[in-house]
């Protein structure tokens, strides 16, 4: 599993819609100071709900909308980020029994989206041996993709709404985090190391450092 594509619309220094295709393995992002490298990482945190506005270097959430957009427009402005994962190879996620637990949850708050998510997520088969695809009932899911979108709408008066979507269907942050946990993406998992995190760890006192392990335990 890996991140296949990022799509940023009016997010921070990105105007219009900017697609960023990604591949598995080792990719470096480089460019001049102030050109938008950290903003790409912020887009990832924003979409997956892994950080608050402070963690994305913004005073308030509305500051994340591209300034040119907010200063030009008279009506509501919108910023959005979509992260598309390629799930090929996730077969080991445990198949059927996943479906049981989530449905229990999903019905509770009546959101269809969660079970829809589940269909894509949980029954992803191990890649079949070549030539055998015709017999698999799920070969329809040729794309084996899973996408998360977050939209931020800001009105002229400065009030805002922020919504999460999984595969285009609305969901709550809690549901999103549950699905992400299943994919082994944890908000406190330290898999995203921000500019300055290394210095932060160095200047922490020893108690704060111990608390990091508490969270993981």
């Amino acid at each position: 599993m890996y991140i296949k594509r990022l799509e940023l619309s009016n997010f921070k220094s990105f105007g219009g819609t900017t697609p960023v295709p990604l591949l598995p393995g080792f990719t470096v992002i480089s460019g001049p100071n102030g050109s938008g490298k950290s903003n790409l990482i912020d887009a990832l945190l924003f979409c997956l709900g892994l950080a608050g506005s402070k963690g994305m270097r913004a005073e308030r959430l509305p500051d994340l909308v591209n300034h040119t957009q907010t200063s030009r427009s008279r009506s509501t402005v919108e910023a959005s980020v979509t992260v598309t994962f390629d799930l090929v190879g996730m077969g080991g996620m445990g198949g059927g029994q996943q479906l049981e637990t989530v449905n229990g949850n999903g019905n509770g708050n009546g959101k269809n989206a969660v079970s829809a998510v589940d269909t894509t997520l949980t029954v992803v088969p191990d890649p079949l041996p070549e030539g055998d695809t015709a017999s698999s009932p799920f070969s329809l899911h040729a794309s084996l993709e899973w996408s998360v979108t977050r939209k931020l709408r800001v009105t002229q008066q400065g009030t805002y709404t922020s919504n999460y979507y999984i595969n285009g269907q609305p969901c709550t942050l809690t549901e999103l985090h549950e699905e992400l946990n299943r994919l082994r993406v944890y908000p406190e998992g330290y898999n995203v190391v921000l500019q300055g995190d290394v210095t932060r760890i160095i200047s922490m006192n020893s108690r704060e450092r111990r608390e990091i392990i508490d969270e993981l335990a």
């Binding site: 992002i29 490298k37 903003n39 500019q195 995190d197 760890i201 006192n205 020893s206 990091i212 508490d214």
Partner: protein, 156 residues
């Protein structure tokens, strides 16, 4: 609760020792202020770069500190592996040789997970499989350039 902490601590400590040895050629370990009652104290990163006396984080140089802190971050990640990692200029304190060592380790790990690394340092750019360029012309939006989806040689 103490049980869960102890298990996490031991695992992260083992990871830390292995990673620190790989990144800096020395020995390092995690040390609890109060091993019997961990919640009563804090946690120190103790490192022993090859040929130097054992020292705490406070008396190391800028680069040594950042290598030790990075080893700790990677040790936490190994305890809870994730399908992708994003690093934003974690190599800025390191000298050329240490950037290369770090890049080698990332290249190795990138066989099991996706690594997206923001860096300005040449050894890191040269070891990657591909580079995405980002720029912003005067007053314009950020442009994403050169998404070179084929394995590439260094473009810098």
């Amino acid at each position: 609760r103490q049980q869960a902490f102890k298990e996490a601590f031991d695992a992260v400590n083992i990871n830390f020792q292995a990673i620190f040895a790989e990144l800096s050629d020395g020995d390092g370990h995690l040390q609890l202020d109060d091993a019997n009652d961990p919640f009563n104290g804090g946690l120190n990163l103790v490192a022993h770069p090859k040929g130097k006396p054992v020292q705490r984080l406070a008396s190391m140089s800028g680069g040594e500190k950042s290598l030790t802190a990075l080893s700790f971050i990677f040790a936490l990640q190994r305890y809870r592996p994730s399908p992708f990692y994003a690093f934003d200029e974690v190599d800025m304190f390191l000298d050329g040789a240490n950037v290369e060592r770090l890049a080698r380790m990332i290249k190795q790990q990138a066989k099991q997970a996706q690594f997206i690394v923001v860096s300005l340092r040449r050894p890191m750019i040269e070891s990657s499989e591909r580079t995405i360029g980002v720029t912003q012309a005067r007053g314009a939006f950020t442009q994403v350039l050169g998404i070179d989806l084929l394995p590439q040689s260094a473009s810098v």
